[in-house]
């Protein structure tokens, strides 16, 4: 009993479907890795005084954390750029006050809570978005 005119044709179909299944099963993995991040934001005034800005809650938990550091950092960078513009931080802290600076320090680690790697995003009066 076959679906097509011959057993061989059926077998070719089965093998083709199996190859497709196996090659796409790669995309079915969930929650097998994580990128843990912690964000610190430092504002430096033109006089050199430094103060912490509170990290917005939106960056504390990230749905992309169950992915690689590259993907998560890319997403964070986009989010941070957007936040700098929409929250008024750029306008109030940097555009109005030349020579001031805001540094976003993202500490992160892959598959551990060590936070042993770091990326810094700096913004100042001349920052382009």
């Amino acid at each position: 009993m076959t679906l097509t005119s011959s057993v061989w044709l059926d077998l070719i179909l089965i093998v083709s479907f199996l190859i497709f299944l196996i090659s796409t099963s790669y995309f079915l993995r969930v929650y097998y890795h994580v990128t843990v991040t912690d964000i610190e934001i430092i504002y430096t005034s033109p006089e050199g005084t430094v103060r912490d800005l509170r990290s917005p809650a939106v960056f504390k938990k990230n749905g992309l954390a169950a992915s690689s550091p590259d993907e998560l950092l890319e997403d964070l960078e986009v989010g941070i750029n957007k936040y700098m513009q929409t929250s008024g931080w750029y306008f109030n802290y940097l555009y109005k006050i030349p020579k001031a600076r805001i540094d976003w320090t993202i500490r992160y680690s892959y598959n551990s809570a060590d936070l042993d790697r770091k990326k810094v995003l700096s913004f100042d009066h001349d920052s382009k978005f």
Partner: protein
Amino acid sequence: MTQNSNRGTSVVVLRNFLFTPLDPYYTTILRVILSVAVFVVFWNISMPLSFIRNSLSLNGLYTNVFFALPYTIAVLIVLVLFCVGVRPRISGFLLSVLLLPLIFVDGFEKSRQVITFSILAFSLIPSCSQYCLIGFNKNYGKVLSPVWPVRLIQIQLSLLYLVNAAAKTTPSYLSGEVLQGLSIMMPNFLIDMSSGYFHLGPFQIPVYIAAISSVLIEYTLAVGFWFRSTRIPTAVLGVVFHVSLMYVVAIGKLDWASLFLYPAFLLPLTRER
């Protein structure tokens, strides 16, 4: 002589595995279950994945075609036709084609991938090998179909568990570090395991035990359905596993998609059982 006899036995086993006739009655039940799965898994989708959002033409296509009301109505009509069994081979194939672009929508895309492939595999079964629920085609259920399209659905379920178990068989996952990190970072994790413990009522279970258990369960679910004697216990384990997971992490529809495929193993689909 022995070699020939072994080869002969293997051929018989393979032939039984792939070409045993499907029971039209239970095939029809599986079709209805898959239709419900489509409805559950594809319900309430809205935003395409970022690579589509970033492309102007693709984004336009999704906004103006795939998310438009006429497309939704077309999917629903074809789904109903497939469910009741009006030319289920054609309607099933058409349904899988219509569902294909909807896989690439944000959130739960894995569950949609699983169900779409299941519909595609099911649509290989000839229409005349199933029953039509509204009974206007008397030829339906008269010709038998081989079981191998259903085997593809079964293999997919096992692969789903196997790739997940294999991906988690790493020192960092088995030590519990990944689970801890996920519970800190992911908004859909409902339990905080940052202390290194998994709180279950009055008990505190070290998170590495939870990690190792989940991996072992996934390996069991990948294998256990294939043996008649372990099929029911495996299904029970699977249901308990997925229901428990719903209290730990809201992975949403992948739980449901997996459970909807259990009948592919549990129904007496072949006639020779």
